[in-house]
Symmetry: C2
Subunit: 219 residues, 2 copies
């Protein structure tokens, strides 16, 4: 896959070694996440909306209420920035200044458009469910015409993106290594618990084997 | 504490029952988080930057490189939106449409200013470390003049904010409850692992008792 070309918006001016422009890294970080933060502006006022998302090929998708402000603003052609971030560790150094966090993040820039074709929209929503819960679509009641009408699927072509990654231990000033201060990492992880039955569940129905051992692949 | 007054930016038009304007709820969600997403716009182009933050009273703080684009843009008076979100559970319903997530989020709007007074800046940075690692400041090498110069602390007065919260089980269409589909929640949690020593650590130094049982209070 061709790497992204750094642009005025995606070139890291500070700590360029943390920047990655290859699609494998960008996609892995996107695929490891559950929630993105969509940034858009109305008359110069920024809004940052957290929402679920999914990726297929070189397109990032999310959905929203057709009547909602985010959908209407982006549909009308406003540029957006979508950011996905993972916190991997707290990095504790020997000075406050060198404390840091290990993280992986992606910022993607562009214009999102709505998936207008009804079949493509249905396929995209099915892909959303499949991405999170493989095999589940086949069990569910299908979307109604009204549900499809009130839901807008937005698609952002991934053409301008950058990944930022920090890994490893603290990097202290040389003389500070002699200080009697503990330094290192505290790992942070997103963990899934065991499925909890809906109290209104028809007795005898159990979660699928895939749900019982639910773990999403993390990048 | 006085609740926030809903404004044009913070009033929830859809699902108003998910909105909370009391400061207790907003503060608890902020205090449970480690990473916020700062939105700002340059010539109408939004940027969403993930960064660490902390709260003291009715002010949200974060820091950045004095030469960085975010700091320079916000210092120059651009409005921002800072969003903190926690994913608490995947909500699995009997139709794709009613699948959801349980979450807590805060969006705060306003203008951030830099903490210019050197003593106030040092106190703010100390508070940042203390918030994450109680007691640790006393152990660390103090910030140098140069470190303070290249770091800008931004302060956002929390005057316009809204919390959004979804809790509980799926809410399905009445007829769908009869379907033979498992429904319920898969809980999601942020977990901290055991501290990992820096390989360059002076032998014999161990993490403090507080770090060994590191758990941040989650709201």
């Amino acid at each position: 896959m061709e790497p992204y070309q750094p642009t005025k918006k995606t070139r890291l001016r500070r700590l360029p070694k943390r920047g990655h422009y290859d699609r494998e890294t960008v996609y892995a970080i996107l695929d490891a996440g559950m929630v993105c933060h969509v940034g858009y502006a109305i008359d110069g006022q920024p809004y940052v909306t957290p929402t679920s998302y999914w990726r297929e090929g070189d397109t990032l998708y999310w959905h929203g209420s057709s009547a909602g402000q985010m959908v209407r603003t982006l549909e009308a052609g406003a540029p957006c920035c979508v950011t996905v971030s993972h916190l991997d560790a707290l990095v504790m150094a020997r000075s406050g200044f060198h404390h840091s966090v290990n993280f992986r993040s992606v910022m993607a820039f562009g214009h999102a458009h709505k998936v207008a074709d009804p079949e493509a929209k249905l396929a995209a929503l099915d892909a959303f469910i499949e991405r999170l819960y493989p095999g589940r679509n086949a069990e569910l009641r299908r979307p109604s015409a009204k549900e499809l009408r009130v839901t807008t699927v937005l698609a952002l072509p991934l053409t301008e993106a950058v990944a930022k990654v920090r890994t490893g231990h603290p990097v202290d000033d040389e003389p500070d290594y002699a200080l009697p201060v503990w330094a290192g990492l505290i790992p942070v992880e997103m963990k899934f618990g065991k499925p909890i039955d809906d109290p209104l569940l028809t007795p005898g129905i159990t979660p699928s084997a895939a749900l019982k051992r639910y773990r999403r692949k993390r990048g």
